[in-house]
């Protein structure tokens, strides 16, 4: 355990490492807090509606029905994260399976599977989600299903492309030659090669899923009220903007921060796991001047 920590520390910049620790702690908090607090996210208290930020007992104030914003925020985040993570997980499993099978076995399987993927890829997620919700009604399970169906194509495409190029790699070919069965190869070098990308993509997709869900709940088609969700809070915040701007700003900023952080983690995961891994891609780090890896590849490329 300590060894993984140390390798993580060595491989990333301090800023990213700290950010990730903070994120990890925040996630723990989000899950633990609702269980230990006595504040009820659904409790209305109309006389105390629109209490300003910092009021005693209401850290972030209250909304139009006097419900505590802080608790609603945390509970809303938790629900959203659970639902979206579940959807992303299912999408990842289905998508990866399809991508690997299609790319490894080629032929008819390839054509059929990837055609289906393309059909789903063709569709704007929100519209599709709205269609499903209109038929099956809003609710947690619907959102999970929507996320799973909306995002599995991108996983499929990603794994497909990666496996296709990995198959050409000599060490995968040799594995076949040295007696590896299909399953061994898929389980071994292919999965290892695809792993880092998958993880990065999972975080990105989680971000998209949260975005999709908040859009849905903004339209009233996502997580059902009176349970809190960021989209719902933003919608009511917009409605009562003139009376209390903080009720719009707080959930909006939370949402943006959440998504930015998820994007950052995705980048970090990819940077961390990739250079050691399959392809020797040039590290195009955001905003960095020439890094050490680039120096090595620079020297190699001029043939010095």
């Amino acid at each position: 355990m300590t060894r993984t920590f140390r390798t993580l520390w060595q491989k990333s910049s301090p800023g990213l490492f700290i950010t990730t620790c903070v994120v990890f702690l925040a996630v723990c908090f989000i899950f633990i807090y609702p269980a230990v607090t006595s504040v009820d996210p659904l409790a209305q208290d109309i006389p105390h509606a629109f209490a300003p930020v910092g009021t005693a007992g209401h850290l972030l104030g209250t909304d139009n029905l006097g419900r505590d914003t802080f608790v609603r925020l945390v509970v809303g985040l938790r629900t959203e994260l659970i639902v979206c993570a579940a959807g992303t997980l299912i999408a990842a499993i289905i998508g990866t399976l399809i991508g690997i099978l299609a790319a490894y076995f080629r032929g008819v399987t390839d054509l059929a599977l990837m055609r289906v993927v393309d059909i789903f890829l063709a569709f704007p997620h929100l519209v599709f989600a709205m269609l499903i919700v209109s038929l099956y009604g809003a609710g947690d399970l619907t959102v999970v299903a929507v996320c799973a169906i909306a995002f599995f194509p991108s996983f499929a495409r990603l794994t497909y492309g990666e496996v296709l190029s990995l198959r050409q790699a000599l060490y995968v070919e040799s594995a076949e030659l040295f007696g590896g069965s299909h399953w061994q190869i898929i389980r071994g070098p292919l999965l290892r090669g695809v792993g880092p990308l998958l993880l990065a993509q999972a975080f990105l997709t989680l971000a998209f899923a949260v975005g999709l869900e908040s859009g849905l709940s903004f339209l009233g088609l996502g997580i059902t009220p009176p349970r809190p969700s960021l989209g719902l809070m933003i919608a009511s915040g917009q409605q009562y903007f003139t009376q209390d701007a903080s009720q719009l700003l707080i959930p909006s900023i939370t949402l943006v921060v959440l998504l930015v952080v998820l994007g950052y983690v995705a980048d970090w995961v990819r940077d961390l796991l990739d250079p050691r891994g399959v392809t020797r891609r040039r590290r195009l780090r955001r905003g960095d001047a020439v890094t050490r890896t680039e120096v090595i590849s620079l020297r190699e490329e001029v043939g010095a």
């Binding site: 030659l177 043939g303 010095a304």
Partner: protein, 575 residues
């Protein structure tokens, strides 16, 4: 002719630093008008960097120090716009990878026009694209100007690049390994083209290369580099006849060894073990003929393009009716240029290429058409070493897993302890430290990786070892040691070996028999001695003639004799 005494280019104490790290340390040499200077060294020597420093085409973040004087002007003091006047004008360049050096979205005509338009009339007479093509021997090629780079061959692309480079009669042409990526016959023609340009245009050249044969062919003087420093410099004849520095001597010794010459009695092998043991002229006649381990008969390999039927007109088979055989303890060499089918035949034996006819029989078992578990069992008798030592090793596995892969993949040995022990033995066998079993691919050099690949290939005691260009990606000095290793292992394990290469001489150093392939067919088949000294086939003779000998006196005599036979400057139809 008094220009002979003037120095055209004078490099003094040149240092180059990339992102703060110095990679070239105090390099000095001179170039006279019309002189061809070879910058020689192995990978990492800094020769390309030095050459590219002159027109300042180094990657961003590089710093130069010292002095580069060109015709009286100090180049290091020039601004970017000042330098631009020289580039493409008096100093021009030709690069190593013709495919990526030309913009894929521009036609040949676009490229040449752009080279011409880059400078004004003041620099000389303005030429037309077609004229430039004539200069490089592509004059008779119809509608070349409308073609894109991916529609012409590698040799043609290099000629086009040279055409663009000479648009404004440069005084100095810098060529950065221009023939390294090409076939040897193409290289031969291109070297003739360069020589022609030098003579006709009174052009000086800096020719960067790692091939001592090329140096012997084209250079007037030589600068030997190693690890960013010049170790020796002088005129080509003296350097080859009496090299002073031990590194130069080991380079020459390795080059000669790979050319099948007798090892230099004087040469002190710096770190290289003795040169490859040449095969006996006559194999010791065994009482019983050694069992044939692998037999390939009339094999046909055809690739199907998607959507089209097989054997549609105009579709050539990759391999047509090839037959060969190897016995245990013997080595068979397969030689050919790109597209000859030599690698395809290896892939056919391994089951990686679509075999549409003939048979491949391994220790009596027919391999064609075999599938599933039976195939895997049969394959257990084969070992493989590929050309690229990097991509054939799994980057996420430790060495002990890599080197014992055939054992645990097939399920023969499962427990980690015996695998690790065996791995240690194997590493020792190939001259690597047995304590390295926990290292990973990225911690090893190219030569070391190839040794690991070889160790893996013999770990399961195969009957046949197939080595597909195992040394082509390695430095010359390293190549010799790897070949020696293969030889030794064969004596110990007594496997049959198939050695594939594009270099006939390299193959000859460890093979008993040699087979030459061209366009998918076997055109020559005989013992090494026969093929090298008394070839029957015209193509074999062409191949032998094209490989430059690392001896300037001999090489220059050879090439003038051959130049008289055919004019090799006019090309455009080679690969």
């Amino acid at each position: 002719m008094n220009a002979l005494d003037e120095t055209l280019l004078s490099v003094t104490d040149l240092t180059i630093a990339v992102a703060g790290t110095e990679v070239v340390h105090g390099v000095s040499f001179t170039v006279r008008p019309g002189e061809v200077v070879a910058l020689v060294g192995e990978s990492g020597a800094g020769k390309s960097m030095t050459a590219m420093a002159i027109p300042n085409l180094l990657p961003a973040g590089s710093e130069r120090g010292g002095s580069i004087r060109f015709g009286g002007t100090e180049l290091l003091e020039l601004s970017e716009s000042g330098m631009r006047r020289y580039r493409g004008g008096e100093i021009a360049c030709v690069y190593q990878e013709p495919m990526t050096a030309l913009n894929p979205l521009h036609t040949v005509g676009d490229f040449l026009t752009e080279s011409i338009d880059a400078h004004g009339e003041g620099q000389g007479r303005r030429r037309e694209p077609q004229e430039l093509l004539d200069l490089v021997g592509l004059g008779s090629f119809d509608d070349l100007l409308q073609r894109y780079p991916h529609q012409i061959s590698g040799g043609q692309r290099q000629r086009v690049m040279a055409a663009g480079a000479v648009a404004w009669d440069p005084k100095l042409l810098i060529a950065d390994e221009p023939t390294t990526a090409l076939d040897v016959t193409t290289q031969r023609n291109l070297l003739a083209m360069f020589r022609n340009l030098v003579k006709r245009e009174q052009m000086a050249m800096i020719f960067v290369t790692h091939d001592m044969g090329v140096v012997a062919d084209i250079a007037d003087s030589v600068v030997v580099m190693r690890n960013g420093r010049v170790v020796e410099a002088g005129d080509v004849f003296s350097i080859f006849a009496s090299p002073q520095h031990e590194y130069t001597r080991s380079l020459l010794s390795a080059a000669r060894a790979l050319h099948g010459s007798e090892p230099d009695a004087e040469a002190v092998p710096a770190q290289a073990p003795p040169v490859v043991v040449p095969p006996p002229a006559v194999a010791p006649a065994p009482a019983v003929a050694p069992a044939v381990a692998l037999e390939v008969r009339d094999v046909v390999v055809e690739y199907r393009s998607t959507g089209r039927r097989r054997r549609s007109s105009g579709r050539k088979a990759a391999v047509q009716g090839a037959s060969l055989s190897v016995a245990r303890g013997q080595t068979l060499g397969i030689v050919g240029e790109s597209g000859s089918g030599k690698s395809t035949i290896a892939r056919a034996i391994l089951g990686l290429a679509p075999v549409t006819g003939g048979s491949v029989s391994l220790a009596g078992t027919e391999m064609v058409g075999l599938r599933g578990r039976r195939r895997r069992q049969a394959m257990a008798r084969l070992g493989v070493v590929f050309q690229d030592p990097t991509s054939s090793l799994d980057p996420s596995l430790p060495l002990w897993r890599i080197v014992t892969e055939p054992l645990w993949r097939s399920g023969r040995v499962r427990d980690a302890r015996s695998l690790r022990a065996r791995a240690g033995e194997l590493l020792g066998d190939v001259g690597l430290d047995p304590t390295w079993i926990d290292r990973r691919r990225h911690e090893l050099s190219g030569g070391q990786r190839q040794r690991v690949a070889i160790a893996r290939a013999v770990s399961h005691e195969p009957d046949v070892l197939i080595a597909d260009e195992p040394t082509s990606a390695l430095d010359v000095t390293v190549q010799v040691t790897v070949l020696e290793l293969l030889s030794r292992l064969q004596r110990t394990h007594n496997f049959a070996c198939i050695f594939i290469s594009h270099d006939l001489y390299v193959v000859s150093t460890i093979s008993d028999r040699v087979v030459v392939m061209k366009d998918g067919r076997i055109v020559e088949d005989g013992s090494t001695d026969e093929v090298i000294h008394d070839p029957e086939n015209e193509y074999t003779r062409t191949l032998l003639a094209a490989i430059p000998e690392p001896d300037p006196v001999v090489q220059r005599a050879r090439r003038s004799a051959l130049d008289e036979e055919t004019d090799h400057t006019a090309g455009g139809h080679e690969r």
